[in-house]
């Protein structure tokens, strides 16, 4: 599977399944990144998203983590892009809770 995966400044990754992008008609992530996004790190290369900068530059902060690419891809694209932003200390906190937060309880 062709994948573009890169790390971001805050600690996390952006993973794009490029095979899904090939059939994407909107390329919404690239448009988003270059219009509303401040980083403008994505471009189209051979019909799929590619980085304009090196992995190091992107990790150093070129990606502004506005999350627009993921939400646009989900809304208008082929659901090919996933941003993972871990917060291990929160997971640790949740594991130790005796009472569940509201979002884990049925409405």
């Amino acid at each position: 599977m062709k994948v573009l995966e890169f790390e971001v400044r805050s600690g996390g990754t952006i993973r794009i399944e490029l095979e899904k992008c090939e059939s994407c008609e909107t390329k919404a992530c690239v448009k988003m990144c270059n219009t509303q996004g401040m980083g403008q790190i994505l471009e189209l290369k051979d019909g799929v998203p590619a980085l304009k900068y090196s992995l190091e530059e992107v990790k150093r902060g070129a990606c502004t983590e506005d999350l627009g690419c993921e939400l646009e891809c989900e809304l208008r694209g082929n659901k090919a892009l996933v941003i993972t932003l871990p917060l291990p200390e929160l997971e640790e906190y949740l594991e130790g809770l005796s009472e569940k937060p509201a979002y884990l309880r049925e409405a």
Binding site: S10, Q36, D66, L67, L71, Y93, E99
Partner: protein, 423 residues
């Protein structure tokens, strides 16, 4: 500010040669009974909590024999002092005190330099002394480029009056060491109260050491969990988790403090606990002012500034929603220059992950208010992603006041309570 427990502060004093009573930190009855073999009796048993006025709250006891030690340890371990659970005790040899004094080095924001403080009235709250007997407090500013020398300390002590020359020599030496603690460990406050005159000289009977948050990264030997200002209690796990959000990323900040971690204050005052995220601390306070009379109490205070990236909003939303006691959530921005569509994307991504089955529509009353830069985009994003259509969320724009926000939340909460009963 990161405050050290007494035994941690005394360990720093020890490193710099400030005499402290022989003591051990213990966390169980067995440990205490073993330690007393080494220390001997009588001992002082001191609850290790961050809150002040510990003695008045019954947090310091004395034991003359093993039976009274057992009783004191059982009484203190697990007790709550001003809301903080006692998880450890400092057992110390009991000092024969001749006289109690006060000594501190702290930061003076008005002169932007450290200040050395001495008072012959030790053992009591220095703020109280400042009010009742201001003439009993003596201070001198410290030029950090020049340092604080023995003779500077002597000048200050001399103002204090009736000390013998031998005592002044001892105290001046100790004062310069306290300044070394202050400087070397990036303190905001290094305080000894009381500083006891004893037969052997002088010793610190208590230690209050506050470290500057901004210096924690280089104070690696202190083993302190970084968190936002938590007042006179230890940081909660959730606050520590929230503090890591800013740790690796300088692009904007999110400050998170649990004002009522277990919602006990809200519950005892008959208020409904809610989670709050505000853009602008003033807005946070204003919305609290509007919510409280309507019967709601934000059990966290969260403020973002400096135009944080969307990922920070995502993470802090998950932190706020992780509070198990909240029965509602509000995000309220001031008329901000921040790019609010970033905030919206962060909240939307968090909601979608927290509520995957409903597509991000929350199951508790939520009101989000966008006022400022890109607020129209932010409101539209919630609509596009289908979250605004949820029954328990209202997404509002720049024409909404704080008062209206609180009233809309109140109406939504009442409807939610009527429909769902509760969760």
């Amino acid at each position: 500010m990161a405050r050290l427990l007494e035994y941690q502060g005394k360990a720093l004093f020890n490193r710099k040669g400030i005499p402290v009573p022989e003591g051990r930190f213990v966390q169980s009855v067995d440990e205490a009974m073993n330690v007393v073999h080494e220390l001997g009796l009588p001992v002082a048993i001191k609850a290790q909590v961050l809150s002040g006025r510990r003695g008045k709250a019954g947090g310091i006891l004395f034991a003359e024999d093993r039976d009274s030690l057992l009783q004191a340890v059982n009484e203190l371990l697990g007790k709550r002092i001003q809301g903080s659970p006692v998880e450890g005790l400092l057992l110390e040899e009991k000092a024969e005190v001749q006289r109690e004094l006060y000594m501190a080095v702290t930061a003076d924001p008005s002169t932007r330099q450290p200040v050395a403080i001495f008072s012959p009235r030790g053992g009591v709250d220095i703020e109280e002394t400042a009010e009742t007997e201001p003439a009993a407090i003596f201070t001198t500013p410290i030029d950090i480029l020049r340092g604080f020398y023995y003779y500077d300390a002597m000048d200050l002590l001399r103002q204090g009056g009736d000390l013998e020359s031998r005592q002044m020599l001892t105290l001046a030496n100790l004062f310069t060491r306290l300044y070394q603690v202050y400087r070397e460990y990036d303190c905001k406050l290094a305080e000894i109260n009381p500083l006891a005159l004893v037969v052997q000289g002088a010793m610190a009977l208590d230690a209050r050491v506050d470290i500057d948050d901004d210096a924690l990264a280089r104070q690696t030997t202190l083993d302190i969990d970084f968190a936002e200002e938590a007042g006179e209690r230890a940081a909660t796990l959730l606050e520590i988790a929230a503090a890591t959000i800013d740790e690796k990323d300088h692009r904007g900040t999110v400050h998170f403090v649990q004002t009522d971690p277990d919602a006990s204050y809200a519950k005892t005052t008959g208020k409904i606990p809610v989670g709050l995220d505000a853009v602008g601390a003033g807005t946070g306070l204003t919305i609290m002012d509007e919510l409280v009379p309507l019967g709601y109490y934000p059990i966290d205070f969260c403020d973002s500034s400096g135009n944080p990236v969307g990922s920070k909003f995502y993470r802090i939303t998950k932190v706020i929603m992780a509070q198990p006691h909240i029965e509602g959530y509000l995000f309220v921005s001031c008329v901000s220059s921040q790019q609010l569509d970033n905030a919206a994307r962060g909240i939307i991504k968090a909601f979608k992950e927290l509520y995957p089955r409903s597509g991000g529509r929350p199951n508790i009353p939520c009101v989000v208010v966008f006022r400022g830069g890109w607020d129209d985009v932010a409101v539209e994003l919630f609509r596009e992603h289908g979250i605004s259509d949820g029954p328990w969320i209202k997404v509002l724009g720049r024409d909404t006041t704080e008062k209206e926000t609180a009233e809309i939340f109140d109406a939504l909460y009442r409807e939610w309570k009527k429909e769902t009963g509760d969760l």
